[in-house]
Amino acid sequence: MASSSSAGAPNAKPIQVKLVLLGEAAVGKSSLVLRFVNNEFQENKEPTIGAAFLTQRCKLEDKIIKFEIWDTAGQERFHSLAPMYYRNAQAAIVAYDVTKAASLEKAMNWVEELKRQANRDMVIALVGNKLDLVSASHGGDEAVRKVPVAQARAYADEHGLLFFEASAKTGDNVLEVFTDIAGKIPLDHLLAHPHRGAGGRGGAGGAGAGAGNRVDLLRDGAPRADNASCAC
């Protein structure tokens, strides 16, 4: 967990953390976010087209973290849009489905792409979703598991990733994924250099290039904006 803030009074302003979700289609990326943001689960979640955007706050010791979550579409066809979303992100969740071996391979490809092209300091979590399907306590069956825990964990360790198996359906481990990510991000650094850090936008390209350094990322600590955003 992050050390407590050294800078005087407890910080009321939320610290923005941009997080992107990547992974094969239908592994449950949107469901993980929905569980985290609304503590809900929908059995048949409509496929994400392009990307969805959600925000959620959580408390970490004396700090408030506001996750800005880009939940991307899983079909290979949308792959070329992904850089637009992970380019300035401080964190990524790369999700796979514990009952689909190929989804771990796809996840590994994402991890490699992030290592090559995303922020060097990006905190990446590898998350095996649909744990409920393989746990007897939730009416699942270990026999349908296609990705052994040891294999995924070994890969995560080797590449310095956080690792979880989770279930968006039951909620198991979902909050932990996000709080552990928050704990690993150098928040004090983000706080000290909000202009640089919060966006992580080191000369980012994209549509808004030029207008680039958006210095007002923390402005929505103002009460007006707070009404509009998530309640937590």
Binding site: A25, E43, E46, P47, A204, G210, D216, R219
Partner: protein, 283 residues
């Protein structure tokens, strides 16, 4: 434009009566001319063959989306029910018919919308016509047309709503972040249902400029809120991706959209210029 065509457009802009929509869409899309007798049955039979299913890379992804397209609609909510079976058949048939496009997420919603009105074969041919004419290239594997259209949309926004465009630019919000959802589902997941149907009416008589106009209209309606109450992308994007429906009732959206001056030839020119810029690596 012949006067009869102009009159037809005017009528369609007012909204096709729902009881006539199935017949009107089939006709307006040009499906009556495009339909090849027996072709759909042959594709459907091929699609049902387990060997085809195993070999076609798109069938698996179609399967993953079947129970997720309009999961709350009575036609599609039953696993393995008539609606899902029809959707599977039409999407598979299309993937075989057009292997270049195959299946792209978003098409499930498009085909699903058609299946709410038309039986399988007719829905299939309207789908074919949509992807050959007003939505041509939009679902191609490289998504190049979509990316070109995002540039066009950004440029139109700068022209028609300059203050909002500057607000978006300052917050790193670009059209590609929202038109992907808007365009690829032809607004079926972004607008209240009666409004989405009106968008389809317009699309079938006006071509692609209809979806640009509707997109601009949504932002025009939301402009004040977006500028005043959405200081950063953390407020802007959720609003655009989940537009509150109370302002988007059919007559309001269509009225604003039709008031936006935009010619089909403008879209052709702007697409050409955007794709040139893209190829030259300028964008």
């Amino acid at each position: 434009m012949p006067p009869s065509r102009r009159r037809l457009k005017k009528l369609v802009h007012k909204g096709v009566p729902h009881a006539m929509r199935a017949a009107a869409w089939f006709r307006l899309a040009g499906a009556h001319d495009r339909l090849e007798e027996g072709r759909y049955a042959a594709l459907a039979a091929e699609a049902a063959d387990p060997a085809t299913a195993a070999a076609n890379p798109f069938f698996d992804i179609i399967e993953r989306d079947l129970h997720r397209c309009f999961p709350n609609h009575v036609l599609f909510c039953t696993p393995g029910g008539e609606g899902q079976q029809a959707l599977r058949e039409v999407l598979r048939a299309y993937a075989l018919f057009n292997p270049t496009v195959g299946y792209c997420q978003g098409l499930g919603m498009v085909a699903g919308t058609l299946l709410m009105l038309l039986e399988r074969e007719r829905a299939f041919w309207v789908l074919v016509c949509l992807l050959e004419t007003p939505c041509k290239g939009l679902y191609d594997p490289d998504l190049l047309q979509l990316k070109t259209d995002a540039i066009v949309f950004d440029r139109l926004l700068a022209k028609k709503l300059p203050r909002l465009a500057r607000h978006f630019c300052a917050n790193d919000v670009s059209a590609l972040m929202f038109i992907t959802q808007w365009f690829l589902t032809i607004f079926t997941t972004s607008l209240p249902w009666p409004s989405a149907l009106r968008v389809w009416d317009m699309l079938l008589v006006d071509g692609p400029k209809a979806i640009f106009r509707i997109g601009l209209a949504v932002l025009m309606i939301g402009k004040r809120h977006l500028i005043k109450a959405c200081p950063t992308n953390a407020e802007i994007l959720p609003w655009i991706l989940h537009v509150p429906t109370e302002h988007l009732q059919p007559d309001a959206v269509v009225f604003v959209a039709l008031g936006i001056e935009l010619r089909a030839s403008d879209i052709v020119k702007m697409r050409l210029s955007a794709s040139k810029a893209q190829l030259a690596g300028l964008v």
